[in-house]
């Protein structure tokens, strides 16, 4: 069962191609991440999938409904937390949730019950009758995520849900994302935070220049890029990174804070070389760590110009 089937989705703005023939599927119940640098086409993709932008080409099926032909039926099954969306600041938290419920055609009794449950879940119940303009940014964002859940969606789009929030709100939102996903809600998460995607997502798609350049589980993506395995070493004296290239064994050496990071496919050969360098140069090794490739390395490698 597929929640989303996108085929050749393309969006052009005055001749500029923001999204270029992307095709992918998201299985029901999956937590799917959409990663990419600014301007990669993530938000445009989400806007096409949620029926806000009409694709220049291509189709998208949402829970079996064509978003172009049956937008209202498809939207009825979605929950959406758009990037930089706001709640109505002159309305109370409860009234914002009631409004969302009414827009989804839910009966008043059900809306009140659902709204109260969500307010409790997101830690906003005590302030339910306060105007949103009195809320902190974290509280507003929690409310915005709650607004995306009023209709018990099968599919939830979260576009940068934790961007710019305090750590408490970030943790709460991440915890709830996991909980909702474990209850069977398919989640599409757009994020700049690679570690967030690494921790939460079953699969990620990395976008750049409007195209999907890699799509797989975070672990598989990491293993594809073994050359990004690295060693971090710190010496008691100042050492130039270039001195540690060791011929063709180390592919890249760069300074990271007070350490030097060495990238190599043969990390096991690098360690004795470092020991030998330490002995010959008189620079004592004070710490040495081997690092497995992480998703950030994969991301940087893939999106590098």
């Amino acid at each position: 069962m597929y929640s989303i089937k996108a085929r050749d989705l393309t969006k052009k703005f005055n001749g500029f191609t923001a999204v270029d023939k992307i095709s992918f599927v998201v299985k029901s119940g999956e937590l799917f991440g959409l990663l990419g640098p600014n301007g990669a086409g993530k938000t445009t993709t989400i806007r096409m999938l949620t029926g806000i932008f009409k694709p220049t080409n291509g189709t998208a099926l949402i829970e079996g409904y064509d978003i172009q032909k049956n937008p209202l039926e498809a939207k009825q099954l979605m929950g959406i937390v758009p990037e930089m969306a706001n709640a109505y600041v002159d309305l109370s938290a409860l009234r914002n949730l009631m409004l969302m419920g009414e827009l989804y055609g839910i009966r008043k009794k059900e809306i009140v019950k659902k709204a109260e449950n969500l307010l409790k879940l997101f830690g906003l119940y005590e302030k339910r009758n306060n105007k949103v303009k009195t809320f902190s940014k974290g509280m507003q964002q929690r409310l915005i995520v709650a607004m995306g859940l009023v209709n018990n969606p099968k599919l939830l789009f979260l576009d940068e849900p934790a961007a710019g929030l305090d750590i408490g709100s970030v943790r709460l939102i991440r915890k709830l994302i996991k909980e909702f996903n474990s209850k069977g809600i398919t989640i599409i998460l757009t994020t700049h935070n690679i570690e967030e995607a690494n921790q939460l997502c079953d699969r990620v798609a990395i976008m750049n220049h409007g195209k999907i350049i890699a799509i797989d589980s975070p672990e598989k993506l990491k293993s594809t890029f073994q050359s990004t395995a690295s060693i971090e070493v710190a010496f008691d004296k100042k050492v130039k990174a270039e001195e540690l290239l060791f011929g063709d064994v180390v592919t890249e050496a760069k300074k990271v804070g007070d350490k030097i990071r060495l990238y190599s496919k043969r990390t096991e050969e690098v360690i004795p070389m470092l020991v030998e360098y330490s002995n010959s140069s008189g620079s004592k090794i004070i710490s040495l760590n081997t690092l497995a490739p992480n998703l950030e390395d994969v991301f940087v490698k893939l999106t590098k110009e």
Binding site: I52, K54, E73, K75, Y88, E102
Partner: protein
């Protein structure tokens, strides 16, 4: 998605608009003061009868109030980043626009009703035709649709739309027979026919004074025609500009 379901959602938009934009002290007070001041400014020093003035005041109050807030709702929501959430919900664009129109219509009718009551009780004005009541509701829908049509350009700056709105609204006030009867406009008379306000003023004059240029049926039909036309164009233009708002 059934039609009734969409109408209910449209009502949710109306409620939201009323709470967010209209039911505020300053808005309600300026809704009464603005047309009154405009009107007073134009009648001072002119020897005109109450029965000539009241239809003009009614027309001006309805036109100014109904089209005052409606045009800025879309740019304001675009700026406040609430619009994307609204259009992401399973509500058709026509239902959102209808919700905005009805909120604006209710606000205008409330103010106009206030003037009706004051005119009848304090000034002893008699309403001799009930077609004015139906005409007022249709006219409110018509002027509100015009306001929504004006709000179609995809800006997030309400003052841009306010400027555009003033550029359209003020000339209409002068050509619609509020201050100068259409019969005195000579060869320029035909210009007044393109203004929907002309037909409402004509209907109000008939209902209060008993004088008219067109029959009440023509006035009502013209208002209905303008309403449908403005509503359809508003939907089309908003549909066209929607993607440019984000």
């Amino acid at each position: 998605m059934n039609f009734i379901g969409q109408l209910k959602r449209s009502l949710a938009v109306t409620k939201k608009d009323l709470f967010v934009f209209y039911l505020k002290g300053p808005v309600l007070i300026s809704g009464i003061l603005m047309p009154s001041f405009l009107f007073i400014a134009f009648i001072i020093g002119r020897n005109l009868s109450i029965s000539f003035l009241i239809p003009g005041l009614l027309g001006m109050a309805l036109f100014v109030t109904v089209s005052s807030i409606g045009p800025v709702v879309a740019p304001w929501e675009t700026r406040m980043k609430t619009f994307e959430r609204l259009v992401s919900a399973p509500i058709a664009l026509w239902a959102i626009i209808l919700g905005d129109i009805v909120a604006s219509l209710m606000f205008g009718l409330f103010i106009t009703f206030f003037i009706f009551i004051v005119s009848i009780i304090l000034l002893g004005v008699e309403i001799i035709s009930l077609s004015l009541v139906i005409g007022t509701v249709i006219a409110a829908f018509c002027f509100s649709s015009l306001g929504l049509l004006i709000s179609a350009p995809p800006t997030d700056n309400p003052s841009n739309i306010m400027m555009l709105s003033s550029m359209i609204k003020f000339p209409l006030l002068f050509i619609s027979g509020i201050f100068v009867p259409i019969s005195s406009m000579g060869k320029w008379k035909f210009i007044s026919y393109i203004s929907p306000l002309t037909y409402y003023i004509d209907l109000a004059r008939y209902s209060v004074e008993g004088t008219n240029n067109f029959s009440p049926g023509i006035d009502l039909l013209a208002l209905l025609g303008f309403s449908i036309l403005f509503f359809i164009i508003a939907i089309r233009w908003h549909k066209k500009s929607l993607a440019k708002r984000f």
